[in-house]
């Protein structure tokens, strides 16, 4: 049981950065960004390479995240400047990244166990030794910082413009925002987070591998869904925190599955089926919410997240409406 909890927290927190990135693009920006399948291992590959070169691990992790951000910029520029379809732009970048990773590492896999890792380094500053629980504490601190930074950013004027780009692009453009820039910014931030996730993952597992990105996107989507369903509300703050918790719950479920003897090689199929099921269950109240997670997924209720509350909140104060009405009639003389 202890191993399940440790696993859920370590993996959950590391992948929470990725889930936050996916939340940002898929959900808030309305941009189904497939770059992330490449960005995750890219963050790991870049980190591994520079660590082997002797760069200090914290800087190495930062470089991994920056490489992720650059991948996001590549997709963003392809889409906004060259007008490449958003899904295709992501696929092109992800595919190109594969070569970049092989060139960066010089081979498909780089072992790192012989080198100091970022957890040992940072914990060392506080005279702590690297154990399962201290690693969790370090990750938790970073998660809280990132969560707070994101929450702050998304409530600034720029952050709001970014969210509006996902909610109603035509409207925010008519208010003077260049939505090419907000998309680019969102993709950079999101992929920075995904790169960070990959960098932290390679530091924990002690190696980087070009194949480590396979299936991570579906897992991140599953985390967003779990988080939004169980913890999330309409409020942005709850959504951000919910997605972090969702990532932990999702990784916990996987750990429990492993513990019960389910074969690990079946997990990706099971996750895919799970996501599909949740997305397609008709007339299931969750359905309306989830329709917003993955753009393009059509559900029976096309207007996500509004249908129910519409009835509840419909009536303004009837008395007030009546007053205006009467004035109006009087003036117009109907």
């Amino acid at each position: 049981m202890e191993s399940v909890i440790i696993n859920a927290l370590q993996q959950g927190l590391i992948f929470a950065f990725m889930a936050l990135g996916v939340l940002l693009t898929f959900r808030l920006l309305g941009f189904p960004d497939l770059t992330v399948e490449g960005t995750f291992p890219l963050g790991a590959a870049v980190t591994a390479r520079v660590i082997v070169e002797g760069v200090n691990p914290l800087l190495a992790v930062l470089l991994g995240a920056v490489a992720g951000g650059m991948a996001g910029a590549a997709t963003g520029l392809m889409h906004t400047r060259l007008k490449v379809n958003n899904i295709l732009a992501g696929i092109l970048t992800a595919s190109a990244i594969y070569t970049v990773m092989l060139r960066t590492m010089g081979r498909p896999n780089t072992p790192l166990l012989a080198h100091e890792n970022v957890y040992g380094q940072v914990l060392g500053w506080f005279n702590l030794t690297e154990t399962n629980s201290t690693v969790i504490i370090a990750l938790l601190v970073l998660t809280v910082i990132v969560r707070l930074l994101l929450g702050w950013f998304l409530n600034t004027d720029i952050g709001l413009a970014l969210r509006a780009t996902g909610s109603n692009e035509q409207m925010i453009r008519s208010l003077g925002v260049n939505t090419d820039n907000t998309k680019l910014m969102g993709l950079i931030i999101a992929n920075f987070l995904v790169g960070l996730s990959g960098a932290l993952a390679c530091q924990l597992q002690g190696f980087a591998d070009v194949g480590m990105g396979i299936g991570v996107l579906v897992a991140a989507i599953a985390s967003v869904i779990v988080g939004e369903t169980i913890f999330g509300g309409n409020r942005l703050g709850r959504l951000l925190t919910g997605v972090i918790l969702g990532s932990i719950v999702y990784r916990g479920l996987l750990a429990i599955g492993l513990r019960m003897g389910l074969p690990a090689e079946d997990f990706k199929l099971m996750t895919a089926v799970l996501v599909l099921l949740v997305l397609c269950l008709p007339n299931f109240s969750l359905n309306k919410r989830l329709a917003g997670v993955v753009p393009g997924v059509q559900t029976k209720n096309k207007k996500p997240r509004q249908t129910r509350s519409l009835q509840a909140d419909y009536s303004p104060s009837p008395a007030k409406e009546l007053t205006v009405h009467v004035q109006n009639d009087g003036r117009v003389g109907e």
């Binding site: 004027d157 720029i158 260049n178 519409l310 909140d313 009405h325």
Partner: protein
Amino acid sequence: MIKLTGIDKYFFAGTPNEVKALDNVNLRVAQGDFITLIGSNGAGKSTLLKAIAGVISVDAGSIEIDGRNVTNLPEHTRARDIGRIDQDPLASTAAELSIEENLAMAYLRGQKRGLARAVTGQRAEIFREALKNIGLGLESRLKVPVGTLSGGQRQALALVMATLSRPKLLLLDEHTAALDPKAARLVMEITERLVNRYQLTTLMITHNMEQAIRFGNRLIMMHRGRIILDIGAEEKNKLTVPDLVTRFTSSSGSVFDDDRVLLA
């Protein structure tokens, strides 16, 4: 104030489906004009407003706002001067964001956006004041997601958003057409109040002849991409719906083919 010269706009140019949506449109709008724009289906009314706002580019002619040639400027750089509301009540507000967040975005219309907090106490006070003007009680519901409002409430909010930063020009594209009659009347009443209060230069498309005659100080009629009638305040005051139908028929040589107009 607004000067359109020789505007042409084609759709599907060079194909068998080519449509000339705007055909040598010339129009001068004076400061403070409230123009109602009417015309049969497909006359090019929406296209004209979109061309002025920069949502679509034009194929010939020039567009000037206050002496500045904006013909080739993208929509977002013209936004400072232009507030626009669409017929679709879902189009002019962002459903997932709250009332105050929508207003915060409109508050900075056309300005540089930075890393300042979007909704501050001070701004919320400004928003509350602006919402009180329309008398729907929305000022006490600032944190409610806009997606939970009715169509009429959303269009009323869109009006507040469009006028919050006092644009030079307000463009309304049948903004009450999708509403039920009661909500439509309410939104028209709010429109008139805001336009008068802020002396906004306004171009309003309507399919309702009676509305076109009742509101504003000038009436323009379009047909097949051209302006075929331009009626000033004096003449407009005496105008009746049958007059307008007659004048349409004689100017265009065809029968007014928008059944919605006759029903109205």
